[in-house]
Symmetry: C2
Amino acid sequence: MVRQSRKGTSPTMADVARLAQVSQQTVSRVLNDYAFIKPDTRERVLKAIASLDYRPNMAARTLATSRSRTIGVVASDYLSFGPASALFGVEQAASEEGYGVSIVSLRESNRETIAEALARLVGQSVEGIVMISPQDVSASAAFLSFDNVPVVTLSSVDTGEHTSIMYDSVEGSRAATQHLIELGHKWIAHLAGPAGFTVSESRIHGWRKALGAAHLVAADPFVCDWTAESGYLGGKQVLADPRFTAAYCANDRIAQGLLLALHEAGRVVPRDFSVVGFDDVPEAAYCIPPLTTMRQDFTKLGRRCIEALMVRINGEPPQEADPLLPVLIERSSTSRAPLP
Amino acid sequence: MVRQSRKGTSPTMADVARLAQVSQQTVSRVLNDYAFIKPDTRERVLKAIASLDYRPNMAARTLATSRSRTIGVVASDYLSFGPASALFGVEQAASEEGYGVSIVSLRESNRETIAEALARLVGQSVEGIVMISPQDVSASAAFLSFDNVPVVTLSSVDTGEHTSIMYDSVEGSRAATQHLIELGHKWIAHLAGPAGFTVSESRIHGWRKALGAAHLVAADPFVCDWTAESGYLGGKQVLADPRFTAAYCANDRIAQGLLLALHEAGRVVPRDFSVVGFDDVPEAAYCIPPLTTMRQDFTKLGRRCIEALMVRINGEPPQEADPLLPVLIERSSTSRAPLP
DNA sequence: GGCCAAATTGTTTGCGCAAACAATCCTGTT
DNA sequence: AACAGGATTGTTTGCGCAAACAATTTGGCC
């Protein structure tokens, strides 16, 4: 290692240039893969870079090019599996594209907090934003125009103004319910997600659709809030109505809560009661009994977000992607309806 | 809104200055809370800022001050609850300190990938780095000196070179085991974490410690890998030895897998067998039966990391924090040992 | 041998901001 | 009425880099 000329600060291109006996601009060219550099020169520069342990200063690069090579993520709830996986996918895909990821998390989601989060990211001059924040308000807040930073949201509302990436919740929900119908269940409860989430609505809708197609009656859904606790509480209500022999839950955690409520009530799953979840979180396969559920690949979802963002960033024409459909994973929490 | 002078680009301080009829420097002063600004001037500037919807350019600020107001996070596994919560805590605390958060995730952890991740963050001129990556190799790789960027790791090895923040796993483990001992269990299995994690070692150690103090024999731990699947598989092995009446698991997911194995074997928990987990993930309370476990507050852990980092960044003397102890949450997966 | 086009390198400039320094304007004093 | 010393604002400069433009060299060709 060669001692740096200035101490305390990292070496700059100028330092490299001096050592390699070229101009600063040539160093810049080597770093940016400019085509017309003599192999000999390039080598000298690279050696100087290595010897000084030079690392380019992103802030300066951003300032000079007005491209930050950074994308921002607004996440409201990456503590649960889905959003966390999506974040993972976003980071991976972004990093493969040579982008860094800045994250801002929301404690609560409303127009103000979202606007502030977006503003902070724009202030860091991110080139694009992914909103992993399934509340409806996120989608609407994304409309707030921020310079020309493209925004992609993870939600089922696709408004045209911004891109939205999501699994088809209506269809997934329909398929889940259909599975129970095919098993002979006539009264199928739905433990729904909370208000303010488009997916909640979509899942209710898909459930109703399947029920309607089979000429079965859809009771009011039991509104939960994605947590196991709410599923447990909702489960107690479901159990109060002896007609139900099955329930379709808006996610696996709700289903896990329901499973406990059933267990405590002495109802054996799936003999007495069938349960279907949604997401296929890692724990789903190890519930008692292992949970039948609709699998979604959230990591892929995150990658899709980056793809969509890159298209927008590079000004390419938007391309159609094949739709994302949850797939039924059949495990032991579902079986034929008990005889009346 | 006043029309910007230049189109396509965001307004700069110069634009604001022109509109407010002051110098660019005065705008800078207003933005940086310089004390001696005439209220009248300040107001004009603020009005101009609002009217232009001006937002400072972080890249320029970073370049001028060589402070990025950003901290980097290296995360290897934020898909599970603990690391995700820690990330959440880090982001919150950082944001309260006025810092942004850049994240780099690791697909696999070895010296090279970690070194590269650190290099990328340093390249973004982060002012500090938090490694949410509990593998031993992370701690060792953090030694790679990167300019003078302080690194804080989430792990139990505290080497002095860098700060390390973690709950006391040995003591937590001892307490968990002790709980089972007090319930009269004599043969207590341990479903351990995988090799390469200091916490795995610590938890084995704490378990042995409690057993030793009670003059009980510690069989070989059953090595798992933090997943429910491994707990399920490990559980089958535990069940092969009829002497065991209880098991202490290195985390809740392992415990959940064990619970399923017990259920399938017809062993009723806690009547026939007691189980203790670690972490108190949200699902723990809704396992069948609800899981006794050692609670850790990962969000707090994340906040601690930022505190430690701020101390280092601001060059303050390191201060002692009270130790973090997991607390026993007693639920229904533990009871007195069955009579022989 | 001279000429054109491509290859290769250098010089100047500005990105948007804050630090350093300089100038002016106050206020109450002696 | 002149002055010390703070209050308030302005001017110049440089952070590290890449874009734009300029200069020089090289190689091929008639």
